[in-house]
Symmetry: D2
Subunit: 416 residues, 4 copies
Amino acid sequence: MVIEEVRIKDRYTQIRKCTLKICSPLTPEDHVVQPVVDVSPPKWHLGHTTWFFETFLLEPFAPGYMLFNDSYGYLFNSYYETVGARVIRTDRGNMTRPTVQEILDYREYVDEKMDTFLEGPLNDKVLELMELGLQHEQQHQELLFYDIKYILGNNPLFPSYQDTALSSAATAGIPNYLPVEEGVYTIGYQGEGFHFDNEEGIHNVFIHGCALQDRLITNAEFLEFIEDGGYQDFRHWLSEAWEWVKTNNIKAPFHWHFQDNIWYHYTLNGGLKKIDPAAPVTHVSFFEADAYAKWRGLRLPTEFEWEVACNQYGSVNEHSNFMGSDTYTPVPQEGGNNQFYGDVWEWTASAYRPYPYYQAPEGAVGEYNGKFMINQMVLKGGSCATPEDHIRSTYRNFFHPHLRWMFSGIRLAKNL
Amino acid sequence: MVIEEVRIKDRYTQIRKCTLKICSPLTPEDHVVQPVVDVSPPKWHLGHTTWFFETFLLEPFAPGYMLFNDSYGYLFNSYYETVGARVIRTDRGNMTRPTVQEILDYREYVDEKMDTFLEGPLNDKVLELMELGLQHEQQHQELLFYDIKYILGNNPLFPSYQDTALSSAATAGIPNYLPVEEGVYTIGYQGEGFHFDNEEGIHNVFIHGCALQDRLITNAEFLEFIEDGGYQDFRHWLSEAWEWVKTNNIKAPFHWHFQDNIWYHYTLNGGLKKIDPAAPVTHVSFFEADAYAKWRGLRLPTEFEWEVACNQYGSVNEHSNFMGSDTYTPVPQEGGNNQFYGDVWEWTASAYRPYPYYQAPEGAVGEYNGKFMINQMVLKGGSCATPEDHIRSTYRNFFHPHLRWMFSGIRLAKNL
Amino acid sequence: MVIEEVRIKDRYTQIRKCTLKICSPLTPEDHVVQPVVDVSPPKWHLGHTTWFFETFLLEPFAPGYMLFNDSYGYLFNSYYETVGARVIRTDRGNMTRPTVQEILDYREYVDEKMDTFLEGPLNDKVLELMELGLQHEQQHQELLFYDIKYILGNNPLFPSYQDTALSSAATAGIPNYLPVEEGVYTIGYQGEGFHFDNEEGIHNVFIHGCALQDRLITNAEFLEFIEDGGYQDFRHWLSEAWEWVKTNNIKAPFHWHFQDNIWYHYTLNGGLKKIDPAAPVTHVSFFEADAYAKWRGLRLPTEFEWEVACNQYGSVNEHSNFMGSDTYTPVPQEGGNNQFYGDVWEWTASAYRPYPYYQAPEGAVGEYNGKFMINQMVLKGGSCATPEDHIRSTYRNFFHPHLRWMFSGIRLAKNL
Amino acid sequence: MVIEEVRIKDRYTQIRKCTLKICSPLTPEDHVVQPVVDVSPPKWHLGHTTWFFETFLLEPFAPGYMLFNDSYGYLFNSYYETVGARVIRTDRGNMTRPTVQEILDYREYVDEKMDTFLEGPLNDKVLELMELGLQHEQQHQELLFYDIKYILGNNPLFPSYQDTALSSAATAGIPNYLPVEEGVYTIGYQGEGFHFDNEEGIHNVFIHGCALQDRLITNAEFLEFIEDGGYQDFRHWLSEAWEWVKTNNIKAPFHWHFQDNIWYHYTLNGGLKKIDPAAPVTHVSFFEADAYAKWRGLRLPTEFEWEVACNQYGSVNEHSNFMGSDTYTPVPQEGGNNQFYGDVWEWTASAYRPYPYYQAPEGAVGEYNGKFMINQMVLKGGSCATPEDHIRSTYRNFFHPHLRWMFSGIRLAKNL
């Protein structure tokens, strides 16, 4: 147990610092706004992740803990109905106070108290909540990248976030197919480590023989769809998808811009850049992923097919492109890495619904996943903005089918 | 083949007459309006089902067929992008012309031509389209009941549709559980008869041991949920469901009215009536069905569990309450009928997604089902407004989770 | 007084019959719908005008009067907050019951009771309310024409309302200017006859020397504006007008259709017709009238300039085109008639605000005019749908500046 | 002319510095957001006013002037269609770049160039545009106060802007009436100094005998309206006003908060404060001003009555509360100052329409006023946020009748 406690304190320090690093290229102004309802202001993320530790750890478990500021609960609660009133999501981007500096002070205050708190003996309930708090902060680290990219990419000046060297682009070859044999497979998290409640309820599924491509769909491949008039032909699209395309005048992935006959996209690594043909396409909605698959005469894999294939063929290796590689941009396949992990979250054909034996936990923590299990689709595998230790084959990410400000992408499958 | 042709002609006549019978209690005025986007005006249904036979049978296959009116294609196309422009759905309720009488003339004209056409030799393609046209008209018969009930029930005068005798209400006993054994089951339509494309792709699923209740949830049971404050407690509700409840101020199933401390509901059989405690609750959304199940500590069955249980325990029998019983209202369980068929469509826990081997057919007919496979949930078993010969255990109905103007209801399940 | 009573009874009969005549070309279906919020279903007009006599005359003054139907008050109240709850305006078009026939029965019932009631001695209060009820019904007669034209003209079949002969079109000559001398003028109703509260408060205005054109702007003249790109040039438009043009993609007056390079418009006299170059343009919003005037380098007259000019130059004569001429369509200027009266309501430059001494009457009748005196513009002179005895130079009609489903048109003015 | 040039350079320096002073209490974060469409981010004001001098003075008249940044035209154009594309107003609050510091650099760059430019000989056109630019900046200074108050007052922390001493509150006595004699008066700007185009077109109006109160309506008086149920009684309200009250659940002036049975309001001088009974009520819409007047049995003055009364009785004196008094809050009447000038803009009964001889100037400058002359009401007299030298009796301010984030207030009038 002592070892565990030491580890958790170090991890706490490391993860909390990482969040600050993510925001370090930002100006105070960049921290404030909320251009669409799905995006949260970076300073809100800074406050909210801190509020989590204050509310769920320090307040109940650290004797004599004094709140940093009584009103922060109201400002930094996200959606926990159990915990009380909160600033409505659409008004988050209008809260100029507390300032970034005040929130950094809040972080420092809570971090100091946590340091002391983590020195003491920690019971299992505390360790469990600590782990959740850290995983929660890692999720917000990834959201920070999405939201920062939205905020900067929405600005006509296309400000730079960073500009580090990327390895030179290879050409993507013809994709091969990775077969999955017909049979009954066990799905869900079976280890001892951390996992979310939505991965629980180990259960069997029957999978028919199928095969998944051994790499992600590239920008060059997706461009063929665009140039073939894919966005103009209703036959590829689900009915709601077609309405979405027409209403929003969608013509390319999010962050793509067509200027002087050339396709550019806004990136966190170098600002506006020509698209790299060999890199995985990203910022596509499920609607686009599904239409693309139909246009190719193929389909998306189910979350179960994906999980089984990943267990068989996927691995985290030197070529995996996670947050730690500091690119924050999907990169071309390299060295036989089949890209199950990192680069982009892969849309699956599966609606986000509870596993057969799923039980939402009691209390506020029970609001973490279960209540979102409707009208969303499952994505797998993590992205270039995911911390490497925050992903597993059983991890179920989920987004509404029209959303695409996250690093989402496409892998295709077929029946055998 | 001759036999088949005779049969199809008789069925054509019978089904077409049935549609007229459904509309016969209506005034011309009742045929016109569209109070919400999901409802279509009854006269539009009368025209649209006729347009189907004209467009897909007479025009391509009956030599020398003359269109009744050139502009009707524009008015009566529903959503077939393949077939051309159409009146946008939200403007359907503003089309006062053609009048009901003109549409009845249109029906008569097409029916006469069809009579002649059906005398001739019919190839397989024609027979297939005929079958689809008849099934399509049966689906619209059911929709007519929903839409008529919406239109009349929305009127402060609560006009009567019919008032026939119902068998006296029994009391619903404690529900028993019907066990489904763990194992691999085959799902999808396997017979020779008519079925929709979305039932195709026979495939295996693994089902864990579970049990389904042997009857539908009753009004009395649902009233307990209301009286326990179920609509005011966010813990039972999915996040989007809770928004829906608050935004729309939902407090009871659709068509329910609370007057002088008594719960009434609008029915097609007698207008405004006190709710019958023993009758199945209906006009609940998936959101309400799911919240109710959670409040009871149980869950909805998946579509696969339901299909397997229905194959094992369900039957169409003398107590099954379909359109043919002329009640148009769910009735209490009777004589050991476990209500898998008829009364209400049963919400399942399954999102409406394609089966593994699903292939949308080519052409306009391919728009029938596949393009709706997103953001909707599967319902099973048919209702008191479903023609008896229009249902099977593999039939997949689907609606968005917030909708409830159809005859939808609840059966609960649990893990074993 | 006896004479007065006789007259009022005859007028009651005549005006009530006229309303029925207006609806006589309609099918029951045409009576039901409400394609936009500003339009009311014809059957609602039939019921509402009847409800007015029942509520304000029979109920308070006819001893022993029994309501025809208790719920009709709820259904047929328009906007009188004083009198209680009412069907919200956007739901009027979904009320299929009472049917047209039931409303005709309602009218007959009330008319019979009114006949008896009008035989008796009538005090001044009653006579005053009778007059208001008749004027009110005449206003609804005019609205009926607007609403019927909207309903039929919105239908892709462009059904015919009537098709009577129109006198052959003359060519409109160059407009002359009618001078108004600088000075102080008295404004407002000064006679003994009926007038609305908004004409009261006789008061003086100072008018600078100006001149008004001696006829209305024609379709040919307005077409020059269209062909000059008037709808595409922001410089002619008020800021809100320009938003309105862009948001609604406005390119021509309402009811105009461009087919095979020819401009048609839907009319109540012959359905879809080529526009008549010499006839006054109609179905233009204030935004369009104002933009047109600016494009011409001229301006609209104020309501005061118009009233003074009309008193000096206007007259109801054999060429005035009112409801009684049964055209329901503006016609070319003829025989020196300067068109101050009839044909189209003329947009003025004046916002609809109370006169200096204006006092809203007490009670429900006080809601007739005063509460609408914001964000609307004044129109003068009556139209081809106005009863001839329902107009005077002091009559102040008013509509929001973006509306144009009524018979509205343009007369230009300039400073001297 | 030399004198004039010196003066304009000094005024330029003084006015530009004043804008910076207004923003000096703000954090960078406070400069960014746009909580509602009517509010602009403070940093946008800083950029836009600078862009005005760059675009209309330096670019056309300063030879060899180099734009500070090519893209700023796009970012800081407000609504001048003539000058090209612009960031849509609802997206202004999402532009985090340029940062506040970059905009301050932009200001410094332009100010330096302007310094040099203003040394040279200036022709009349330039002097005219300079004057407009300075007046324009003063208008934005006032808007800055409104917008800053909105941004800070919308924050649940109610941050302080400043906290300077206010003179102790007097009690407001019974208002007296200032009579205006019946007669013809000349309206509009007749001097030699700066004025806006909308004050031009000197013309006569006839005014009937009336009297205006000699002070503004106080908080205490308005509280009587609240406590009498004024916000719950439809009879006081225009129809659109009543919809506005119900839709937005309006219960008090903007920035008012009811806590523990006490009325507070957010102020720029001390944050949240108990309302001062003797101070003028502010942050009321026209709808509220009009309802209040009706409830009192009085009325608002017309803009003409106000202008005449102000010319007769009004004066800028030691008690006038303008921006220069650094309160940014209306204060109680003192020393016989009848408050025509300063404290709050006074709603009039007049719609904002062009004067009879009004001509919009040519070019972009012509978009300044004329195109807004619809659906707005005239306000007179300036406020506690108006620069003292930026007001005249002929000044016509205008806002939509539902708006109230500006310092707006009420003076009542009656007929004689």
